[in-house]
């Protein structure tokens, strides 16, 4: 019985997930009539627009990761160390981006930071980029925070902090030498997730009118036949690569210390 259910689940899963993926991949390979070829991929990779937007998004992703790490790790650390009562609140706040649509966030941004506001970020190119990065950080926040918080839970940060303090360390040393290296694996997995999110993101970039990969995907999708499928397969590949890297990093990381419970 349970076995039958399991198979049914698997079947339904493949019908809505794997089959479309296979179909799309098949389609992306069928640009040349009558045989499979990588023509669609070649056409995509040769497009200078592709390279420009992809590079733009990769750079944005890196900035987002750095900003996110500097924002999230100290916050999660401090909340765990000094304000454990506040944890549910912070957790709730970090979940907000999951329930607030990106379009709402970006309209909020535009209203708050438009050219006639007190902080006219959208007035300059750099300002808009900063705004976009903040938006991305916001979207990645639930994943980043959870990853880091889980990492912090695995080590006894209270005692490690006190041990470092008694050895004369100040806050920067404790953070840089003790806390960050010990949650590095979690930070990396958060970083890969952030990367995957930023690469595929459409709404924020489009409404802030930035030359990112997401809007480019949409543009190609509206105007060409085979290339969009090839692009979709490529972005899937990137996402999966990120997931794979998370696994590898988690496995390569030094084993956890012999912990007391």
């Amino acid at each position: 019985m349970t076995r039958a259910f399991a198979w049914a689940g698997f079947l339904i899963g493949s019908m809505i997930f794997i089959l479309p993926l296979l179909g799309m991949t098949e389609f992306s390979l069928s640009m040349r009539r009558g045989e499979y070829s990588f023509d669609a991929y070649a056409s995509v990779l040769a497009d200078p627009q592709f390279r420009a937007t992809f590079t733009y998004s990769v750079v944005m992703a890196l900035f987002t990761i750095v900003f996110g790490v500097l924002l999230v790790v100290p916050t999660a650390y401090w909340v765990r160390l000094r304000m454990p009562g506040l944890r549910p609140v912070v957790e709730f706040i970090t979940l907000m981006p999951l329930v607030i649509p990106a379009i709402v966030i970006v309209f909020g941004y535009i209203r708050l930071y438009n050219t006639s506001s007190w902080l006219p970020l959208t007035g300059s190119d750099l300002g808009t980029k900063v705004l976009l990065m903040c938006g991305y950080t916001c979207l990645a926040l639930p994943y980043m925070y959870r990853a880091v918080d889980t990492g912090l839970r695995a080590i006894d940060i209270g005692t490690l902090t006190e041990a470092a303090q008694s050895l004369g360390a100040g806050w920067t040393t404790i953070f840089g030498r003790v806390i960050l290296p010990n949650v590095f694996v979690s930070v990396l997995s958060g970083a890969f997730l952030t990367f995957a999110i930023v690469i595929g993101e459409f709404t924020l970039a489009a409404l802030l009118n930035q030359p990112a990969f997401g809007p480019y995907l949409q543009l190609v999708g509206a105007n060409k036949a085979y290339e969009p499928s090839a692009l979709a397969v490529i972005s899937f590949g990137i996402t999966w690569l990120c997931m794979g890297l998370i696994q590898i990093v988690a496995r390569l990381a030094p084993k956890p210390p012999a912990q007391l419970h």
């Binding site: 080590i155 006894d156 005692t159 490690l160 006190e162 041990a163 470092a164 303090q165 008694s166 050895l167 004369g168 360390a169 100040g170 040393t173 030498r177 003790v178 290296p181 010990n182 590095f184 030094p254 084993k255 956890p256 210390p257 012999a258 912990q259 007391l260």
Partner: protein, 352 residues
């Protein structure tokens, strides 16, 4: 007497409305090894954490080496600290762990390497510098933690139940090792434990704590043989309690289960008052020497190897006493009547 190195004066600590340490006073001499002994929750860790600077006293003063450190941050106190959970930095090797304090202090690479080597020799783990903490046993981890605490040459060493997580054998050997290292370095040390044997065996002085207060401060011999309060008497060592009634307070005659014994000292209580006498297991013996005697029945005999522990019933009271095993004398038989002898000088009259 030398100037005390660590002085804890009238320290109180409250968390919200609950006071967990009250009017705590202690003066520790330079080079002295002092243990805090007490049941769980009595405030040992809290006092230690105030000395280390992790908690701020609600009232009172802490002076280390003549300097008032009450409001100084923990990283400015130059104190070595060892934790029950080892707390080695998992991302660093043993060598890096030990060198951490020196690195923070900005010492040169050469000086650091030299000191790490010295410390590894001190804890007798000279070859483990490149291992990571997870590759060490608990006992090794705790020795590394000790080396790490000692590497920056602190003036004061604090240990919070450093042996509790280790198994019995390692616990005994490491405790002797800690004491030896402490003596060699002459470092003033405060050691927290709830294990009385541990405290009795390695301390110069013991502070017995109960309910956030120091019940008694004294050398192990003194604590064990002359407990100042009922709590100290019952907490430190095994103690036989005998409930009796005062018959003659001046001569110190007490009636226990219809039998009279005379202690020969003033009890300071009225005739007919209830009194609790206490007797260590090693102070009594069947038919042994001693001027006092109580008649009872053997209730229970446990053979512990080198020692035989006998429990005898005297009315409603039970008296345990130990006898060395001897191949030629068989242990007493349960149900036999026995004559328990002891000296008046070994009987403690417990206060309230």
């Amino acid at each position: 007497m030398a100037e005390p190195f660590l002085n804890i004066e009238h320290v109180r600590k409250s968390f919200g409305s609950t006071t967990v340490v009250q009017d705590f006073n202690l003066a520790v001499e330079p080079g002295e090894f002092v243990s805090f002994l007490g049941p769980s929750g009595c405030g040992k860790t809290t006092v230690l954490r105030m000395v280390a600077g992790f908690e701020e006293p609600s009232a009172g003063k802490i002076v280390i080496g003549g300097k008032d450190v009450t409001h100084l941050k923990p990283n400015q106190r130059n104190i070595g600290m060892v934790f029950q959970a080892y707390a080695l930095f998992p991302n660093m090797t043993v060598g890096q762990n030990i060198g951490f304090g020196l690195r923070v202090a900005g010492r040169s690479r050469a000086e650091m390497d030299k000191r790490v080597k010295e410390m590894l020799a001190l804890i007798r783990l000279p070859d483990l510098a490149d291992r990571y903490p997870y590759q060490l046993s608990g006992g090794q981890q705790q020795r590394v933690a000790l080396a790490r605490a000692l590497a920056p040459a602190p003036k004061l060493l604090l240990l919070d139940e450093p042996l509790s997580a280790l198994d019995a054998k390692v616990r005994v050997s490491l405790r002797d090792e800690i004491r030896q290292i402490q003596k060699d370095l002459g470092i003033t040390t405060v050691f927290v434990t709830h294990d009385q044997e541990e405290a009795l065996s390695i301390s110069d002085r013991i502070v017995v704590m109960y309910g956030g207060k120091a019940e008694q401060v004294g050398a192990p011999f003194e604590i064990y043989n002359r407990p100042a309060t009922r709590f100290v008497a019952s907490f430190v060592g095994t103690l036989n309690m005998l409930n009796g009634k005062v018959v003659d307070p001046k001569a110190g005659t007490v009636e226990i289960d219809g039998q009279k014994i005379t202690l020969g000292r003033d009890l300071g209580k009225p005739v007919g008052a209830a009194v609790t006498l206490a007797l260590r297991p090693e102070a009594a013996a069947i038919g042994g020497p001693g001027d006092l005697s109580l008649k009872g029945t053997v209730a229970d005999v446990s053979f512990l190897g080198s020692v035989i522990r006998v429990r005898a019933a005297v009315g409603a009271s039970r008296i345990s006493f130990d006898r060395f095993n001897s191949p030629t004398t068989p242990p007493p038989v349960v149900g036999e009547p026995c004559d328990i002898k002891f000296s008046a000088g070994d009987v403690l009259v417990l206060g309230d």
